[in-house]
């Protein structure tokens, strides 16, 4: 399956990290695709939670927003947002949290708040959302982000959520309960924390990528793990399942939506 895109390969690589029956706190976009792909392939028992309070959802098509009706209709239950964050995430009931960000540093700390200064930003980003507490409480965090020196930076403009802070155990000393970012899945390969320094290093490459390509895309001097893995190419089953999911999604989102115009005489 050499005709797949890096986006597809990234999604498939991420989906493989998810164990059956894992409880995942899912974000929109690539993580949502990866989690649902895992559910449709090797992990049918995976439990997907979206922060809109939909627990154990099994959507037919990928949602555009974190709270599409599809998520509620296919959920085991729909609970309030305070319950999701207190009784599930904070209570340590989430195995895997997925995060993305505009910036990530070498210790897996993330910025999704501002580029530039907080008070006079050049770019105001959406902000924290669920990220700080997902980063804090999920037993492990997977980050999905396309690599570029603009996003994989020496110094964050703002730290929205904690990875390993300054490394060397700083995260645990700060009292964070979850395990931190275990893998960063990019379009040039996969990074993971060094066991001692906790600095992100290159641990796996796509079969058609090189260490030089990875180094060029990362804004800090990237270290390479002693043992460098190759990320296996997508199987036909993985790729077909993903493409069918995305085709269903495109079709569903292209379906014209009925504007709910009230009958004459109603307000």
């Amino acid at each position: 399956m050499s005709d797949c895109t890096r986006d597809e390969w990234m999604t498939i690589a991420a989906s493989r990290l998810l164990e059956n029956r894992a409880v995942c706190f899912v974000g929109i976009g690539l993580p949502s695709a990866a989690c649902n792909l895992a559910r449709l392939t090797h992990a049918p028992g995976i439990v997907l939670i979206y922060e809109s309070g939909t627990i154990g959802t099994r959507p037919e098509v990928l949602p555009l927003s974190i709270g599409d009706g599809e998520l509620a209709e296919t959920a085991a239950c729909v609970i309030s947002l305070p319950e999701v964050f207190s009784y599930y995430l904070q209570a340590g009931r989430v195995d895997v949290g997925f995060l993305g960000a505009a910036q990530i540093d070498r210790f897996g700390n993330l910025n999704s708040t501002v580029i530039g200064s907080y008070d006079a930003p050049t770019t105001r980003l959406p902000g924290a959302g669920g990220a700080p507490e997902i980063a804090h409480h999920a037993k492990q965090v997977f980050v999905m982000a396309k690599a570029s020196p603009r996003s994989f930076v020496e110094q964050l403009d703002f730290r929205t959520s904690a990875g390993y802070l300054d490394g060397h155990g700083a995260r645990a000393r700060a009292g964070a309960s979850g395990g931190g970012p275990r893998a960063v899945i990019t379009d040039v390969g996969m990074l993971a924390p060094h066991p001692e320094t906790q600095e992100l290093q290159l641990v796996a490459l796509y079969a058609d990528a090189s260490v030089d390509e990875a180094r060029a895309a990362i804004g800090w001097p990237l270290r390479v793990a002693d043992h460098l893995d190759t990320i296996a190419a997508p199987t036909a089953h993985e790729l077909n399942t993903l493409r069918a999911l995305e085709a269903r999604t495109r079709e569903a989102h292209a379906r014209p939506v009925h504007i709910p115009l009230p009958a004459e005489g109603l307000p």
Binding site: L81, P82, P126, G127, A128, P132, V257, P260, L266
Partner: protein, 281 residues
């Protein structure tokens, strides 16, 4: 109790009000937001976990002085360009930010609903937010000595929700994704609910989410009132509209002229919807 939307906004939303339009992706009270724009309200303190398009429109039209929020994007699409323009270039006016995480803001709404002055969470560890927001502080557990985060309660002057149904007494029933709507409702001084339907009797409720009539200040019959957001069981989210909004809101001129033509130019929500439908067909 039962009012027109124009009267409900006129009676309960004054300039300077602290105002929460809640509903997490689902049941966002767009019609109410548009009516506030039509009535030209100013200096509002807007409160909402996810500002969404409705606050992008209100901020772009100059209604807001301050924003309490935890995630300000166009869900699944990208930026809220009007919010960005207000923060980055103070257009049409500067906006003060009171910025939280979802967990922090949910905790603050719960404290508000409970009429406690603050709420406690294990949160904000290792983030720069507390440096930028004096509303995020530390508290020590009186039993274990452990430090935890504290946030002040949120108690809006007015909360507005959209719901599927109310009965004639004013009991309101909500189904589907609820977010922090219940807490925002119970934390408010005044609660206004726009609804798809007014019914003689609500569906059997046992443990469903019902806001009893005696905590509701006004019920407004407003079908389609959550569009382009959605009402579970009534109509679906117009994801395409959310995508189109990106282009509409990107520039000040295209934003203003869309708002003039579609919102200000429509005398009410039905006319707004009819205009959109005409544009589509």
């Amino acid at each position: 109790m039962h009012l027109s939307l124009a009267d409900a906004i006129e009676n309960f939303v004054a300039d300077g009000t602290s105002l929460a339009l809640e509903g997490f992706t689902h049941l966002i009270p767009f019609a109410a937001g548009h009516e506030i724009i039509r009535q030209h309200r100013r200096d509002l303190h807007l409160i909402r976990m996810t500002p969404d398009l409705v606050y992008d429109q209100m901020i772009g039209m100059g209604c807001a002085r301050k924003l309490t929020f935890s995630w300000g994007g166009n869900p699944g699409v990208g930026s809220l360009h009007r919010l960005r323009d207000a923060v980055e270039h103070q257009w049409p006016n500067p906006i003060e930010l009171d910025e939280h995480s979802h967990a922090g803001m949910a905790t603050a709404f719960c404290a508000g609903a409970s009429r406690l002055p603050f709420g406690v969470l294990r949160g904000y560890v290792g983030t720069d937010l507390p440096e930028r927001n004096p509303n995020i502080r530390q508290i020590t557990c009186p039993f274990t000595g452990e430090p935890l985060a504290a946030v002040p309660a949120i108690n809006p002057d007015v909360t507005i929700l959209h719901a599927q149904r109310a009965d004639r007494e004013g009991n309101v029933a909500i189904e589907g994704i609820i977010g922090a709507a219940r807490e925002a409702a119970l934390a408010a001084q005044t609660l206004i609910v726009t609804v798809e339907e007014i019914v003689d009797e609500l569906p059997p409720a046992m443990n469903a989410i019902v806001l009893p009539h005696w905590i509701v200040s006004a019920v407004v019959h407003c079908p389609g009132g959550a569009y382009p957001s959605y009402a579970q069981g009534h109509y679906t989210r117009d994801n395409a509209f959310y995508q189109r909004w990106d282009a509409i809101a990107r520039e000040r001129d295209s934003f203003r002229s869309w708002m003039e033509a579609n919102v200000i130019g429509a005398r009410d929500h039905r006319t707004f919807l009819a205009g959109l439908q005409q544009a589509v067909s």
